[in-house]
């Protein structure tokens, strides 16, 4: 058997989170909106219309390029890319060709052996999105649909296209690359980076080669709508190509799409002739010139990048890289961590709380940490109580839930639950235990009679006590009291 390795390059389209479209003032907020209502002569390509570049789109793209360590071209031009398709109103897309906005950057991912590897970014450029098609088949698939419906709300939304060199060596690594890129664009605030919603789209080029051998025929894979789909599609495709090679068959350079239902890649409808896009510089748009000083300023204004935050959490907070990964996956969560630590919460406590309670709530409610109905200072206060031992973790969870539910602060929640933020200890505790033991005298008798080999009944009694004390007793103290009384 030959020792094949995959050679993967990715082409990622990132929808930019600007308010208006790339070349006109129509709103980019098109989800769930009436079809063909966020349109105008420009994004409809009506005769006589002309494009006008969105400043924010440029800034966002440069910001991303700088974070990816690209070289930003101070002079760049837009090209027209021609093809006929119903979602393309001018029958050309305004894009960039041989003088793109940025080139030669990289993003680091980890290898299978745990080391980091640089995946080189070939180019980053700006272009406009096309409209959306809805097909008349029951499945919504294009193939065989008797007719299709077109909505141009999405036409003209700014897209950032990022193309990597074929440096990616496995499906898993491809997944990680996209995951990291997605994290980056979210950290930078330039995009929602949502694959399912379509604001981050990935196409892959995959071929196989033997170590030291020549590159094989490239196959383009499209229609991977989640990280999982991406990984599985590339795994499948690698296997398919390996098998073909081993059977002595040639690999056809073609486009295939991933079929999530049947978990295979299928050749897309082949065209007799290759597309000839007839690129030429768009005469309606003079060269885009970005002042060096603007680039320097944007560089200065770059927020802390995800890998920088991760590094800081490991080095400054002494967290393990796994823990840090979870905490820095989302920018809003990492920010919360920093804030809690600033308020004096010990790192370990904050880290645990965030990774359990906070993430749960954020995911349940689908919100961002800034939108928690509770002040960070209040969360800090709660955690400090736990840290001092004044509140057990169990009790704290109850308090937190009440705080969230009613948007109240710690003090009010504690009061409402009738808890004492102090421990229940000593004579007070003893009194409760005595009560419990007398109410469960039959169980106590059984234990005394030696019928509790496994200690289940003791635990049962302990449980009742803990419930009665609303978790404010120290379990060890409870246990010793019970033991002594039995």
């Amino acid at each position: 058997m030959n020792e094949f390795i995959p050679v993967i390059g990715l082409e990622i389209h990132v929808q930019l989170a600007t308010k208006s479209k790339m070349f006109c003032s129509c709103s980019t907020d098109y989800i769930g909106v009436k079809p063909n209502s966020h349109v105008c002569p420009i994004c409809l390509g009506l005769p006589g219309s002309l494009p006008m570049i969105n400043e924010k789109a440029i800034m966002y793209a440069i910001r991303t390029a700088l974070a990816l360590r690209c070289k930003v071209n101070t002079r760049t031009i837009f090209h027209r890319k021609h093809y006929f398709y119903p979602d393309l109103p001018k029958a050309y897309q305004i894009s960039q060709y041989d003088l793109p906005l940025a080139v030669d950057g990289y993003l680091e991912v980890s290898n299978d052996d745990g080391k980091t590897q640089r995946i080189r970014i070939q180019r980053l450029h700006l272009e406009e999105d096309a409209g959306k098609l809805v097909h008349s088949t029951a499945s919504g698939r294009l193939m065989g649909a008797e007719y299709s419906l077109v909505d141009y709300n999405r036409s003209g939304v700014p897209l950032m296209e990022i193309v990597t060199h074929p440096d990616i060596a496995s499906a898993k690594q491809a997944r990680e690359f996209v995951s990291r890129l997605r994290q980056l664009v979210r950290y930078l605030g330039v995009s929602d980076g949502d694959m399912e919603a379509g604001s981050l789209r990935v196409d892959a080029n995959i071929s196989i080669t033997e170590p030291g051998g020549e590159y094989g025929e490239k196959v383009e894979v499209k229609n991977m709508n989640s990280l999982r789909a991406l990984e599985r599609a590339l795994e499948y495709e690698f296997e398919r190509q390996k098998e073909a090679k081993n059977e002595g068959k040639a690999i056809v350079s073609e486009t295939r799409h991933w079929d999530d239902g049947s978990n295979i890649t299928i050749p897309s409808r082949s065209k007799e002739e290759a597309e000839d896009y007839r690129y030429f510089p768009d005469p309606d748009l003079p060269p885009l010139v970005v002042d060096e000083r603007v680039i320097v300023q944007l560089c200065k204004e770059l927020p802390e990048l995800p890998w920088e935050v991760l590094g800081r959490f490991v080095s400054d907070y002494g967290l393990s890289s796994d823990e840090a990964e979870v905490l820095t996956e989302r920018k809003d969560v990492a920010l919360l961590m920093d804030e809690l630590v600033k308020e004096g919460v010990p790192v370990k406590v904050a880290s645990n709380w965030i990774r359990t309670e906070i993430l749960r709530v954020l995911n349940e409610r689908g919100i961002s940490a800034e939108n928690l109905p509770v002040q960070t200072s209040e969360i800090a206060g709660l955690l400090l109580l736990v840290d001092r031992g004044d509140l057990s973790t169990t009790a704290a969870k109850e308090v937190f839930n009440l705080m969230l539910e009613k948007s109240i602060n710690v003090e009010e929640a504690v009061k409402m639950l009738g808890l004492n933020t102090g421990k229940l200890t000593g004579p007070e505790l003893e009194a409760v235990i005595d009560k419990v033991l007398s109410e469960n005298s039959d169980v106590v008798e059984e234990i005394r009679a030696g019928k509790d080999k496994k200690g289940k009944k003791i635990k049962f009694l302990q449980g009742i006590v803990m419930r009665e004390t609303k978790g404010q007793a120290d379990p060890k103290e409870v246990q010793s009291f019970i033991m002594s009384k039995i």
Binding site: C26, L149, V289
Partner: protein, 105 residues
Amino acid sequence: MDITPEELVEDVRRMARLAMIELNKEETKQIAEQFKSILDQLQTLRELDTSDINPFPLEDRDPTPWRSDEAALWNRYNEVLSQAPASEDGYFKVPQIVRDDRNEE
């Protein structure tokens, strides 16, 4: 560069496919003939030594202006569909894009 008449006709057909224009046999033939005389004229440009020239100099043009990122509603959007050759439920309508060649489905 000497192109044969057959090659010219094939060129015209290929361009007609790229440009999505239907031509009948007569039109194709006529345009192929005109192509020849026009392309001959255009060939004159090859006499020029253009090796040092940048076809798209960036320096002496005024840079493209930018627009600030503000969303605005174009309140005539309803009229656009009224001139659409085919529409349905607020969408533009196009006939079959891809035939299903496969027999299963």
